[in-house]
């Protein structure tokens, strides 16, 4: 059952066609005692629809903070963010958790280093779990579709404890895809996997991007994985050093 989502906060702007996401002068400052820590320092970038962008950099370079802001998991301290034609963050106004949720569920699918599958649910039930809370207009009609695409159609009745790490991450990907997101955010998706499984996940992401035209933002420490993206952005001390 679809629920209309007409009340997403953020004004529509006349953005350029083909732009998935545009950030301007994003800045994120954390206050720790009397010290200010600048995690993201005046970053501007544009991601086009169907683009596959990877973010690399050493620990503490600000890549996860940046992707959290781009993925509407966090508010920036300042700067603007436009997703499609929706201006999400502007004039330093932070959004409430509910407003962020409304944007997230319309736009993004997420996969993380840990898979966060519900251990008491089967593979199939984990994949359709988002529908228990929200079913987007245009979501996949048949949840078996992503499961088949990811080679999990024979494992639907299994529980996560019966799966390998690579299979669990594929279930997490299928779960992220059921609501047909505009942008897939992958934060260290191979961090818990061996080289072979990491390559498998890399191939899946490439396939999703090339065959399905899905926009993908990937954060990784793994240079080999980063290379599968069309564009790699390197961060250091909260700034983009190469793109």
């Amino acid at each position: 059952m679809s629920r209309p989502e007409n009340n997403i906060r953020g004004a529509e702007v006349s953005g350029q066609d083909g732009i998935a996401l545009e950030a301007k002068n994003l800045r994120k400052v954390y206050h720790r005692g009397s010290e200010d820590i600048v995690a993201v320092d005046d970053i501007s970038l544009t991601v086009r629809n169907g683009e596959f962008v990877s973010f690399i950099g050493p620990s503490g370079s600000g890549k996860t903070t940046l992707i959290n802001i781009l993925g509407c998991l966090d508010n920036p301290t300042s700067g603007t963010l436009t997703i499609g034609k929706r201006e999400v963050f502007a004039n330093c106004k932070g959004l409430s958790e509910s407003d962020l949720t409304r944007i997230r569920r319309q736009v993004f699918g997420y996969i993380f280093q840990k898979f966060y599958l519900v251990p008491t649910l089967t593979v199939y039930e984990n994949v359709v779990l988002p529908f228990a809370f929200f079913e987007k207009t245009g979501a996949v009609a048949d949840p078996m579709e992503p499961l088949r695409f990811l080679g999990l159609d024979k494992r639907t009745g299994h529980r996560p404890s019966e799966l390998s790490g690579g299979e669990m991450q594929r279930v997490a990907i299928a779960r992220a895809l059921v609501n047909k997101p505009e942008i897939l955010l992958a934060d260290e998706p191979t961090g818990n996997l061996d080289t072979k499984r990491s390559e498998e996940i890399g191939q899946i992401l490439t396939s999703l991007n090339q065959k399905e035209g899905l926009t993908i933002l990937l954060v990784t420490h793994n240079p080999a994985l980063a290379r599968i993206a069309q564009r790699t952005i390197e961060l250091r001390d909260g700034r983009i050093v190469s793109s």
């Binding site: 959290n68 949720t101 569920r105 997420y110 993380f112 966060y116 519900v118 039930e125 359709v128 929200f134």
Partner: protein, 399 residues
């Protein structure tokens, strides 16, 4: 159409993660529900059993020799009085009052029987008038035989339980210890659910003769005209010398006041049990929320709004409480007889009927109370879960 999963199914399956913890919580709730419904059932059952006992006495006022009113009330319900005696001539004085329809004399006699049980015991006999007593106790029906053949015959009518206990049938001979008098059983009563079930009845004259109490009685039961003012009659009867007048209303009040202290204590225990069960539920659900902190964050990143998460956690609490409540209520129905026996051991006096009167409406009330407990207990954990921010939960990785 593709099969989906609902929030309620997710909530139910979440409870299966820590089966032992969920089961223990359900058990705690079940015990509380059992205590609660048993107490509510006791509250109804005790009063109705007492009313039945008193109504089945056949008379509304009992006159005994002067003594402790509590003792009189208790002994009266047990089928006799203490060994204080009045002159039989008092019956004439009682009958003079226009409110009195009938009066029946009783003489209780008790004697030590060395052959009773392993170490001996007291055997009691109730001397009754063969004419007036059966007329007042019309509900007494015979399983075998009939009332006495003569007013002074050496015959006995045995109550249902007394006959079962002593294995008596019509025609059996009974020896009254010390007196060396043999009496013949001429009747065995059907079960009446009253104190009469445990009584051995003899003709009044026979008891007076055997126990050397000629012209004496221990009590007089008075049947009062329905339209008469019972309180007025009681006042008039107090003019008789050295008597204790006990009305049924007084007996009810006296017994209920004796029981009320025990009831307050047991209700306090029930309240504590309910509070402990509530804390158990809060603890279980809160632990579950904290253990799933990251997972709840991910669920919110999937699109769950705070209310969705609140509803999911609240549902878990409600499932635990409804399951525990249903088990406790089922258990209370199955264990009603054992609970009855336990309460009989705790209380100084208990009526002969069933003390625990549980029915489906009491079950529904208990389930409602348990559900209320669940809804209240679930608020805090559900609120905590609803407030989880995805970013914070993801950052807490490894904590």
């Amino acid at each position: 159409m593709a099969k989906k999963i609902s929030v309620y199914q997710v909530a139910y399956k979440n409870l299966l993660r820590k089966k032992t913890r969920s089961a223990l919580t359900v058990l705690g709730i079940a015990l509380s529900a059992w205590v609660l419904i048993s107490l509510l059932g006791f509250n109804r059952g005790y009063k109705s059993a007492l009313d039945k006992d008193i109504d089945n006495m056949g008379f509304q006022i009992l006159v005994t020799a002067k003594g402790c009113p509590y003792e009189a009330a208790t002994l009266m319900l047990k089928g006799g009085t203490g060994l204080r005696y009045m002159k039989e001539s008092i019956l004439g004085d009682i009958l003079k009052h226009k409110e009195v329809i009938e009066v029946t004399p009783q003489l209780m006699a008790a004697i030590f029987d060395p052959n009773k049980g392993e170490t001996g015991g007291i055997s009691a006999y109730l001397g009754v008038d063969p004419v007036t007593f059966p007329a007042m106790k019309t509900y007494l029906k015979f399983k075998q035989g009939a009332w006495f053949t003569k007013p002074d015959s050496l015959e006995a009518v045995v109550g249902y339980e007394a006959a079962e206990l002593e294995q008596r049938e019509v025609g059996d001979k009974m020896l009254i210890p010390e007196k060396n008098v043999e009496i013949t059983v001429v009747g065995v009563l059907q079960r009446s659910g009253t104190a009469d079930d445990g009584t051995i009845f003899l003709p009044l004259r026979t008891v007076q003769k055997i126990f050397d109490k000629g012209g004496l009685i221990t009590a007089a039961g008075i049947k009062v005209d329905k339209n008469a003012n019972s309180a007025d009659l009681e006042n008039k009867l107090y003019d008789l010398p050295d008597v204790q007048v006990v009305s049924m209303a007084q007996v009810k009040t006296t017994i209920m006041s004796l029981v009320s202290t025990a009831k307050v204590m047991v209700f306090s225990i029930a309240l504590i049990a309910i509070l402990i069960a509530m804390l158990g539920v809060i603890n279980t659900i809160l632990m579950s929320v904290l253990e799933r902190y990251q997972e709840i964050g991910i669920i919110k990143s999937m699109g769950a709004m705070p209310w969705d998460v609140f509803r999911m956690i609240w549902t878990e609490t409600v499932i635990l409480c409804l399951l525990g409540g249903a088990i406790g209520i089922g258990f209370s129905f199955a264990m009603a007889k054992i609970t009855d026996l336990l309460i009989r051991k705790l209380l100084p006096y208990t009526p002969t009927g069933s003390l625990i009167a549980i029915n489906s409406s009491l079950g529904l009330v208990t389930l409602g109370v348990v559900l209320g407990i669940g809804l209240v207990s679930g608020i805090y954990p559900a609120w905590r879960a609803a407030r989880v921010r995805p970013l914070e939960s993801i950052r807490s990785e490894g904590e």
